[in-house]
């Protein structure tokens, strides 16, 4: 046996790997789940040919005039049935023939319904013989990088980096504490820093697999763009993983039971899942809470990832998110070193 494989840091890190790969659920959540999620989202939000919108009218003539527009399919329903169809979402607009004209019943908070109403109005006017006063034509744009999948891939990557680091560190440490293994280890001559270092080392090695597999898949299957320098993307991933590892360490530093730890982890991660802009832009939240959202490490991560991948922003222009991640790393790590409970 070589000296390297006899060293305690090597053995501790190898042990981490063994324990990780022998836990099929963990392997699933970290490697397979994000890919499944990306596939699922890409199907749900695929860029379909412009939708044909379902509408209804109370008279056959009105139905005909609506059907004359290619953007609509119309059926004839009486007012009662129509109201029911509206309520269940089967149709978006109900056009009601009235003595003096046509009334449109629709939900104005639903963007699709608003669109359908506009098309329906145009169709009715056209059928009534009104001419378009300005000649317009369409040019369709489906550019790589502007699609939903391009938007969501950096979000999913950030979310995955967060969960794998926090779960990976937090659970393993609290389990070792609960099972008194931590106490047994500090009763041996094991250097304590090596125990923590073995987590970071194994995390960084897993990170390579995790990121390459996920982004490779996103590139090959969806053609997601990488506009910034790849080494900077790698650097952002490493920094992210270290910051969340430090946060995981902080969460795990006192908790005595797995239940307490998983409660804490959810408490920390849940706001970020919602607020940090994984699935939709974080700017949708009110301005008053924007400073809080900006300060969250996952928001910083996703901003940096989107900046790099989608806009090709160089690290020198990503000072704010990188600074926020560094701050989380340093603060969490130094607090956990102070309060870490070895037994």
């Amino acid at each position: 046996m070589s000296r390297l494989s006899e060293s305690s840091l090597f053995q501790l890190t190898t042990t981490r790997f063994r324990l990780f790969f022998r836990e099929p659920e963990a392997v699933f959540w970290i490697f397979v789940f994000p890919i499944l999620l990306a596939v699922g989202l890409s199907i749900a939000f695929r860029n379909r040919p412009a939708d044909v919108l379902q509408v209804a009218a109370t008279t056959p003539q009105l139905t005909n005039s609506l059907n004359s527009d290619r953007g609509l399919t119309a059926i004839t329903l009486d007012e009662v049935e129509g109201a029911k169809a509206l309520a269940t979402g089967r149709i978006l607009v109900l056009a009601v023939q009235q003595p003096g004209g046509v009334a449109f019943n629709y939900d104005n908070t639903n963007p699709d319904a608003r669109t359908a109403r506009l098309i329906a109005e145009r169709a009715v006017e056209k059928a009534a013989g009104q001419q378009e006063s300005v000649e317009v034509s369409d040019r369709q744009v489906h550019e790589t990088g502007a699609r939903y999948i391009d938007f969501v891939i950096p979000g999913l990557l950030g979310m995955n980096l967060m969960s794998s680091a926090i779960w990976g560190l937090g659970f393993a440490i609290v389990e070792a504490r609960q099972k008194k293994l931590l106490k047994r280890l500090v009763a041996s001559p094991m250097p304590r820093w090596q125990y923590l270092a073995s987590f970071l080392l194994s995390r960084l090695l897993l990170l390579v697999i995790e990121v390459v597999v996920f982004l490779g898949f996103a590139r090959l299957v969806f053609g997601v763009p990488f506009r910034g320098p790849l080494w900077q993307l790698g650097l952002i991933c490493v920094l992210t993983s270290l910051s969340f590892s430090a946060l995981g360490l902080l969460i795990a530093s006192r908790a005595k039971t797995m239940e307490a730890a998983s409660g804490l982890m959810n408490l920390v991660m849940l706001p970020m899942w919602i607020l940090s802009g994984v699935f939709f832009s974080a700017t949708r939240f009110p301005n008053s809470i924007q400073p809080f959202i900006r300060a969250l490490p996952l928001t910083a991560t996703i901003d940096a990832l989107r900046g790099n991948m989608l806009q090709g922003t160089s690290l020198t222009h990503l000072v704010a998110p990188v600074g926020i991640l560094l701050a989380w790393l340093l603060v969490s790590f130094s607090i956990s070193l102070q309060i870490f409970r070895w037994r």
Binding site: E6, K179, A187
Partner: protein, 316 residues
């Protein structure tokens, strides 16, 4: 070389004036002990007597409130790194990761020590050859305990701490573990173990300290302690309810050293069974007591403990 002579002459473990409280609970209440090299020393006592706290202070895992502990002539404060390399520890209720194999766990622990046994040798000593490639999750209680022993031994320690090594094991597994401790004793290692099984202490230890409420209430070889209660034999009997037995009538009999009653069961320590039993029968008959139970056994450390704590209870 005088340096070496002094080193080997120092005690393996010296405890002076040790105290430790957790909140209101005094776990260790002024403890002095000395364990010489090559000795197998037992800390004996019921649950909550302060054994584990004492041993964990010795292992450098708990800070005492006051008092000093020296292991192999060194103190934890100054020489922790060195001490960790030289002692072996088996803790109560350590659960090793279930998904590791026996060999992997021992190899991990071996990597912490600068020198020690080979992984193969530790596996062999703990008699885990057949299980070396097995996952820890699939081991029996006894095998897990032997794995804990292998991890304690892998650094080839001069001083070995075993905290309740056989608690929760079936009789066969206990005996296997005793055999292992016997081997270690024969190899001249100093062993300090805690147990609440009196038979275990009697079987394994050269000397024992009986602990109760954080203090040592008796110290000596198992033989000395048994002799200290006055008789090597114990007579136990019970009589029909309603009849009062006068203890002074019994202790007057030659060879009867002491009398106590516990839950209706009378216990006499007796030095010479063959001469003492007939007068006991006669005395009970004279008092009008009809026997419902009668048995005798050789005195054990169990009887020592009962006798000691019994007396203490009466003192309070």
């Amino acid at each position: 070389m005088p340096g070496i002579v002094t080193a080997s002459a120092t005690a393996a473990l010296a405890i002076r004036g040790l105290r430790k409280s957790f909140g209101d609970v005094v776990a260790v209440d002024g403890l002095d002990l000395e364990v010489t090299r090559g000795e197998c020393f037992g800390l004996l006592g019921p649950n909550g007597a302060g054994k584990t706290t004492t041993i964990e202070i010795c292992e450098g895992l708990t800070e005492p409130d006051s008092g000093t502990v020296e292991l192999l002539g060194l103190e934890w404060r100054a020489r922790a790194k060195q001490l960790r390399q030289r002692i072996g520890i088996q803790l109560q209720e350590t659960q090793f990761p279930e998904k590791l194999t026996v060999e992997e766990a021992i190899r991990l622990f071996r990597s912490f020590f600068n020198q020690g046994l080979t992984v193969e040798r530790s596996i062999e000593m703990a008699q885990l050859e057949e299980k070396r490639k097995s996952r820890i999750g699939g081991l029996s209680g006894g095998q897990k305990q032997r794995l804990a022993m292998a991890c304690a031994l892998v650094g080839d320690p001069e001083l070995l701490f075993l905290d309740e090594p056989t608690t929760g094991l079936d009789p066969q597994a206990r005996r296997n573990l005793w055999d292992l401790v016997d081997q270690l004793k024969c190899a001249g290692r100093t062993i300090i173990l805690t147990t609440h099984y009196m038979d275990e202490a009697e079987r394994l230890c050269n000397r024992v300290a009986v602990m109760d409420h954080g203090r040592v209430i008796a110290l000596g070889t198992p033989k000395e302690l048994i002799a200290s209660i006055g008789g090597e034999q114990i007579v136990e009997f019970a009589v029909d309810a309603g009849v009062a037995v006068d203890p002074s009538m019994l202790t007057r009999i030659p060879g009867v050293q002491s009398h106590r009653v516990d839950a209706g069961l009378h216990q006499l320590s007796v030095s010479e069974l063959h001469t003492a039993v007939p007068p006991i029968f006669a005395s009970l008959a004279a008092q009008g007591a009809r026997l419902t139970e009668f048995r005798t056994h050789s005195a054990t450390l169990e009887d020592v403990f009962v006798s000691l704590t019994g007396r203490k209870l009466r003192d309070e």
